[in-house]
């Protein structure tokens, strides 16, 4: 682990290519906020000229691990991965920044980042889905859609119910997927949550887990054992559309830009399915960000719980760019992006409809 970091620190050419798409550097503007800057700090650490002081640790926690820089780096450095290794080490050495304590404690104690009761988790579910039942498909709503952005989860359940798709939901028995803990370097604790969820999946004989949160998607595909299939809801809907089971009829005469979140995009390689869905809504004019797909710029969402001001500032840049493109709706495929972009719009007082794709769909659905 350490060897890998040393190798990267000395391989870094200081070329600065990584600055181009770095959401944090773009917002702050000073070298210390870029991957190149932090690679240099690492080098100084390995030369024995700098210690892992609070300031240094903090600076690594400022990286959104969006992996845009990995795309651009000519020497093949995956800086987001280096940050993950460092964070794990910081946690082991008791150096987790204190502003992350509440988040950590909430997830560990309550099973969600908001500190809400587990009892409230399934409240929004229609009666029929209140108790989990054995099923091949399970919709894993995730913390955001379970507590904060319940309209996403409701829309999904409504759509699937309407087309008589057979699935189950964990509701109260669902725990956080572990993503927030993993992101802060609390790998062992994240593992405990994962085991808890895995047990439930096994009990119910689940073969495919459907997620609506891109963070869950990344965690399930990258960190869970490969005992089951994972589908993002946009993948499922796209599949159902192709099978003719899902169709949209009402017109949405608007310019829509799809926002490629990092977890679903660069981390999981899903770019086309969300676009296919949007395109299939009659009237929609789908437009593209100047930098999209692999090159998409992060909204800062991963920083929203630790550095909200910075995260919102970053998001506001993405909203401004959408406005300049003439977009009327920003469509996301991740509640974290959606919420953060909304905050960004608020910050610069730009009128913009920002919706997660599942929320857009129910009213356009072709009935029966």
């Amino acid at each position: 682990m350490r060897e890998h970091l040393v190798e990267d620190a000395y391989t870094c050419a200081s070329c600065g290519f990584c600055r181009f798409g770095c959401p944090v550097y773009r917002e702050i503007g000073f070298e210390g906020a870029s991957a190149r800057g932090r690679m240099y700090l690492l080098k100084r650490v390995f030369e024995g000229k700098l210690g892992y002081t609070e300031r240094v640790v903090d600076s690594f926690y400022m990286c959104a691990q969006c992996q845009n820089c990995k795309q651009l780096c000519p020497t093949g450095i995956d800086f987001g991965e280096d940050v993950a290794i460092l964070k794990e080490m910081f946690v082991r050495e008791g150096k987790l920044p204190s502003y992350l304590f509440p988040l950590r404690d909430n997830v560990i104690e309550k099973g969600n980042p908001f500190g809400k009761d587990a009892e409230e988790r399934g409240e929004w579910l229609p009666g029929k889905y209140q108790t989990p039942e054995p099923s091949e498909y399970l919709y894993f709503a995730g913390c955001s859609a379970s507590y904060a952005s319940t309209r996403i989860a409701k829309s999904i359940v409504k759509i699937l119910d309407q087309i008589e798709f057979d699935f189950t939901v964990l509701g109260k028995e669902e725990s956080c997927c572990g993503s927030p803990l993993e992101r802060m370097g609390e790998i062992t604790k994240a593992g405990e949550l994962m085991e808890k969820n895995m047990e439930k999946f096994k009990e119910l004989g689940v073969e495919t887990v459907i997620v609506s949160c891109a963070g869950c998607l990344k965690t399930f595909t990258h960190s869970y054992p490969k005992d089951f299939k994972v589908l993002h809801v946009t993948q499922l809907f796209d599949q159902l559309m192709r099978e003719g089971r899902l169709e949209f009829q009402k017109e949405l005469d608007k310019k829509v830009v799809y926002f490629d979140g990092c977890d679903i995009g660069r981390h999981c390689g899903i770019y086309e399915e969300p676009r296919n869905i949007l395109r299939s809504i009659p009237g929609v004019k789908l437009i593209e960000y100047e930098y999209s797909r692999e090159d998409a710029l992060c909204c800062g969402g991963p920083l929203a719980s630790s550095q909200p001001d910075l995260a919102h500032k970053i998001a506001s840049s993405r909203v401004r760019e959408a406005k300049e493109l003439g977009a009327e709706i920003i469509a996301t495929a991740c509640p974290t992006c959606m919420v953060n972009l909304k905050e960004g719009a608020k910050l610069i007082q730009i009128e913009m409809e920002i919706q997660d794709i599942p929320m857009l769909l129910p009213k356009f659905l072709k009935k029966g």
């Binding site: 190798e7 000395y10 391989t11 870094c12 050419a13 200081s14 070329c15 600065g16 290519f17 600055r19 181009f20 503007g29 000073f30 070298e31 210390g32 190149r36 800057g37 240099y40 700090l41 100084r44 030369e47 000229k49 700098l50 300031r55 240094v56 600076s59 651009l72 000519p74 020497t75 093949g76 100047e290």
Partner: protein, 490 residues
């Protein structure tokens, strides 16, 4: 009022940093020079980094610095490797990356007006989606700034062989002079600032010629015999394609270690043509006829083009340190220079890249692989920089760029005109606040600078120990010592 407060009043708190980590990050550039060496140059640390958002802000910052007699070091993206951005005299680092707007795009009159801190890639992407392109760009385009490329000469890069150097593309510059005055230049006096390395003025705005996007074709050839390859390159120089470059055998060998599968020829030449399909066809035929080597399939050439920004650096992990000294020579001497370079470097792990330049020149970039952690090995490699330069001078060429590290070569490069250069510097910047100790001033007395590399070559261990000892001295004492020996410090 403190320096910080005064600057806050000009640019606002968000555009200024005195964070210890930022200050560290702004004290290095691409060159892998050990900190000991920089400290023995008497390097000071910057006090603040300022990142202005407009020409007016730059002007007010510079005016303030001039009044207070504070050094200012312009910073583009720090992708140049000659120490140009090192704030060696402390003071203010002026990070120009905030001047990144595209103010005007005029397809009818074929120009753009942009901030000097704009990154080339951004400009190229912007123009590309609108059917236009720039004439010339550096292969550091993903990070280098428009102003940085002007300040470092813009004489080597993609497009130079077709359109001339970057200086030929400049319609006007907005420059802040050392006393804070803002001037607009015409295409002719823009040349003052081309290659001025941040010592004559701060380039803030650039009006740049642009071209309707043409077709492009990429070709690649391999040569078993050095003189066939060299003859071919000389032929290319005559017909002025959009871009041409070569890689030596060692380069290919290293690339093949890194997941490539290229034929191991003595010289591999890549050519890019740009124009109408008819023009391209005519040129391709001529070039094919001139080639006494093997023509490769097109996908290989396209791949090489697409990787042009990354290809050299992709080998970085094999070093992990690269050391290089770029020389520019008249292309008629290419064969002799290559033979001498290969002889000089025969005991090193090295590779050579060459790129067609302006005025019938070719830029040769020998990259020597070393490891900066092994100090004595590194110093020995470092000492080769002078020998490489010597080969350049011998064949009527020169090193490309001065910055900080090549100041010891000043008398060699400019001869008697060095005093004229200094007079020009004095006229522009009498207090020597703009990027002091660079480009026209020899910070380290020449005799010392010439002796040290020689020592580095023969007794690198001794130099390493010596530097360690020097580093134990307080910075003030080092600076006083350098001054006593005739070094030009502020």
């Amino acid at each position: 009022m403190s320096l910080y407060e005064a600057l806050c009043q000009i640019v606002g708190e968000d555009s200024i940093s005195r964070d210890e980590l930022d200050l560290l990050c702004y004290s290095h550039d691409l060159a892998p020079l050990p900190q000991e060496l920089l400290k023995s140059f008497g390097m000071l640390n910057p006090e603040v980094v300022v990142r202005p958002r407009s020409t007016e802000e730059v002007s007010r910052v510079v005016e303030y610095a001039n009044r207070e007699n504070l050094p200012i070091t312009p910073w583009g993206a720090a992708t140049w490797s000659l120490g140009g951005v090192l704030p060696i005299e402390g003071g203010i680092v002026l990070d120009l990356s905030g001047l990144n707007e595209i103010y005007e795009f005029s397809p009818g009159n074929e120009y753009v007006r942009v901030g000097a801190g704009l990154v080339w890639k951004r400009l190229m992407d912007f123009l590309g989606t609108r059917g236009f392109e720039v004439g010339v760009h550096p292969t550091s385009a993903p990070s280098a700034t428009v102003g940085g490329f002007i300040a470092t000469g813009g004489g080597s890069g993609v497009g130079v062989t077709q359109y001339g150097s970057l200086g030929d593309q400049l319609l006007s510059l907005k420059v802040v002079l050392a006393d804070g005055r803002i001037i607009d230049t015409d295409p002719w006096d823009s040349w003052f600032f081309v290659g001025s390395e941040g010592t004559l003025g701060i380039i803030c705005e650039v009006v740049l010629k642009i071209y309707p996007k043409g077709e492009m074709k990429h070709l690649m050839y391999g040569f078993d015999a050095l003189d066939h390859g060299v003859g071919f390159l000389q032929f290319l120089n005559g017909i002025r394609p959009h871009f041409y470059s070569f890689l030596d055998e060692e380069f290919i060998r290293f690339l093949n270690q890194k997941e490539k599968d290229l034929p191991g020829k003595e010289l591999t030449v890549a050519v890019t043509l740009s124009g109408t399909p008819e023009e391209i066809a005519v040129y391709e035929k001529k070039i094919d006829e001139a080639c006494q080597g093997e023509k490769y399939l097109e996908p290989l050439a396209v791949e090489e083009w697409e990787e042009r920004f990354k290809i050299v650096l992709s080998l970085k992990s094999l070093g992990p340190t690269f050391f290089s000294q770029e020389i520019r020579i008249p292309i008629r001497f290419l064969g002799k220079v290559l033979v001498e370079l290969k002889e000089l470097l025969k005991n090193e792990r090295y590779l050579i890249e060459g790129v067609g330049g302006d005025f019938g020149s070719i830029h040769i970039l020998p990259l020597i692989m070393t490891d900066e952690r092994k100090k004595s090995e590194f110093f020995r490699t470092f000492s080769l920089a002078s020998s490489i330069a010597e080969i350049g001078y011998k064949y009527h060429g020169s090193i490309y760029g001065i910055g900080l590290y090549n100041t010891s070569h000043l008398p060699r490069i400019h001869g008697h005109s060095l005093n004229v250069m200094r007079d020009i510097k004095h006229a522009f910047d009498p207090k020597r606040i703009l990027n002091p100790s660079k480009t026209t001033q020899m910070r380290i007395p020449a005799f010392l600078f010439n002796a040290v590399p020689r020592m580095m070559g023969s007794a690198p261990g001794l130099v390493s120990t010596f530097l360690k000892a020097v580093n134990l001295l307080p910075g003030r004492l080092i600076r006083a010592g350098l001054r006593l020996m005739g070094g030009k410090l502020r």
